[in-house]
Symmetry: C2
Subunit: 211 residues, 2 copies
């Protein structure tokens, strides 16, 4: 079951959802079981969320995914403990999905997947993400993208500065960032088991280049 956000993002209901008694649960649980067994088939977002939990528990970094912004219109609350939202809409976010702190530094990134093998299409990026990351960089924060090429299962961190350059040329000739660019200027994140996306060494490298 996949629901599309207005901006094209996938919405995946949590298998741990205590409120969801619908029949789709069995499917979701089976998928989770498969993921646990094979260690495959998880989205980049799921992998990063697990990684963030790991870093938090180990005291290595405090990085969280921001909740999806929702415009709430109607709420029923028969009891205080069971307020039910009956009508709400997805809002366009004004920031990226992930931020937090590592060693006193402000960390901010967006995570994206592509099925393409040879390039990352710029249409996967939204203008509010670029605008936000430009403001973050201006304030001395560490901003970047985590991009996964799902077909070949390769994941890279790419400094937001590079993405700005491609983005600002997107109305000229550029519609994508070549895979070779990631190989040369990105920081490859090895596939891990625990954590699944060990991105802290990449952050270390990005910080060292800032100074």
């Amino acid at each position: 079951m996949a629901i599309n956000y207005p901006n094209g993002k996938r919405f995946i209901p949590k298998s741990t959802n205590i409120f969801n008694n619908s029949s789709s649960d069995s499917t979701t649980n089976m998928k989770s079981a498969l993921n646990t067994y094979s260690g495959r088939g998880q989205t980049l977002e799921e992998d990063i969320n697990e990684t963030n939990e790991y870093y938090l528990l180990k005291g290595l970094a405090v990085i969280h995914k921001k909740p999806t912004p929702i415009q709430i219109v109607k709420v029923d609350y028969p009891k205080r403990s069971a307020a039910t939202i009956k009508e709400a809409y997805f809002k366009t976010p004004s920031t990226t999905d992930y931020n937090g702190v590592y060693n006193g530094k402000y960390i901010d990134f967006e995570a994206k997947e592509t099925k393409n093998k040879t390039s990352f299409p710029l249409r996967n990026i939204h203008s509010h993400q670029i605008k936000h990351l430009k403001a973050v960089r201006k304030q001395g924060g560490v901003g970047f993208f985590i991009i996964r090429f799902t077909t070949i299962n390769e994941t890279y961190a790419l400094d937001s500065e590079y993405v700005f350059e491609f983005w600002d040329k997107r109305n000229e000739n550029r519609k994508s960032i070549p895979k070779t660019f990631f190989e040369e200027y990105g920081i490859k994140i090895p596939l891990g088991l625990h954590p699944r996306v060990p991105y802290l060494p990449a952050i270390e490298e990005l910080i060292s280049k800032l100074q």
Copy 2:
């Protein structure tokens, strides 16, 4: 119109809500008009959101309120552009409400109001906020509370370290933080017009004490 969150927070519908055609709009708009005219009656949250917009526009800081986390159960999407959430629930957040970057530093705070005149009751603080701010401090981030005594209209920034001390003693004798403590150890934030809660000088002071 005020709706209570499960955790007791007020939920205030935005008057700029383009989806809301209910009859309660007129009340909300009248309240907004009064706010604009008199410059009074805004909540601390509204004041901080305005302040954050000001700081963002001026390029002084990038600090945003996090969206309220929602567990979505049912979504109708007759058209891609009009996905409607039909059933959802408030989730307990795992962080504070505000975070961002100032001069490269990670900034994190929670904002609270009290009608009390002589002390700030600790029951206004939730354990997940303390847990998160302790993790932030351990990572070298700047963590604090912005507390407003609404009856006397005084606002203070208080280093999260002080709040931890009171919090950890809350099962002994402490149920609140005395106003006199804020006067001695807090940083008073003057009432401003534009921005309304000029809290950056307080952050400067907190940073200087960290080093």
